[in-house]
């Protein structure tokens, strides 16, 4: 599998390992949606994500929008390639999106 999606309990969310692109973004979107429906903050651990394209950005934006007013989307430890795309398309500017554990701070 190009992308492994592991559910995590504390914090509640998912750990992503592999590459996120147009071939698997809709699968990720569906998996995330079930958790979004329960409300509250959602954490995505991105440390193991070696690649993300603009369809991945779409998933993040839509997730943040569905959580709006009910919770935050927390992005943990994006690697250098993921940080590069977040630099160019700054999803973290949305009110309820936050990046923690940036490599530079580690």
């Amino acid at each position: 599998m190009l992308l492994d999606i592991h559910a995590t309990d504390s914090p509640r969310g998912f750990r992503l390992v592999g590459e996120l692109d147009a071939s698997n973004a809709s699968t990720l979107s569906e998996v995330i949606q079930s958790e979004v429906d329960r409300g509250g903050d959602l954490t995505l651990d991105l440390a193991g994500l070696a690649f993300m394209d603009s369809t991945g950005i779409q998933v993040l934006v839509r997730t943040a929008q569905s959580l709006e007013g009910r919770g935050n989307l927390i992005l943990v430890s994006p690697g250098s390639l993921v940080r590069r795309i977040l630099e160019l398309i700054p999803v973290q500017k949305l009110d309820n999106v936050e990046i923690v554990g940036d490599e530079d701070e580690a």
Binding site: L2, D21, A22, F51, D53, S54, T55, Q58, R84
Partner: protein, 135 residues
């Protein structure tokens, strides 16, 4: 930055299926490595080519996508060619929801981007991506 005969080239065809994106990224990454391109310039080019191929796969209705790689002394360029017609309606975010901003992202990543739009009379959209080695 125009294509010159002295460029070393390399082209490959991929099936127009989302699973090709991973293969294309590896193809471009390997060529950049062989050409001694800077790692961060390589990362940018790999992402831009992946975006161009995703557009061809998602929008062009082609069976095959051709990726041509060329290296010059000062730059590397990749051409992504499909056999389709460029969809000329600008997506209104308010109507169609979030979009991938693929073309804007390519422009943010590259030093030069050309899009030749395939038409019904002259099908085949070609996206040319140029990255300076030094940038």
């Amino acid at each position: 930055m125009r294509t010159r005969p002295e460029l070393t080239g390399n082209a490959r065809s991929f099936p127009a299926h989302p699973s090709m994106l991973h293969e294309v990224r590896r193809f471009v990454r390997d060529r950049c490595y062989e050409a001694g391109m800077h790692p961060s310039a390589t990362d940018d080019l790999v992402l831009a080519v992946s975006e161009a191929c995703a557009n061809a796969v998602l929008h062009s209705k082609s069976g095959v996508v051709q990726v041509a790689w060329r290296a010059g002394a000062e730059h590397v360029e990749v051409e992504v060619a499909d056999q389709g017609v460029f969809r000329r309606t600008v997506p209104l975010q308010e109507v169609e929801g979030v979009h991938g901003h693929g073309i804007q992202l390519m422009m943010a990543l590259m030093d030069e981007v050309t899009v030749r739009e395939g038409t019904i009379g002259r099908p085949g959209t070609v996206v040319r991506l140029v990255k300076l080695r030094a940038s």
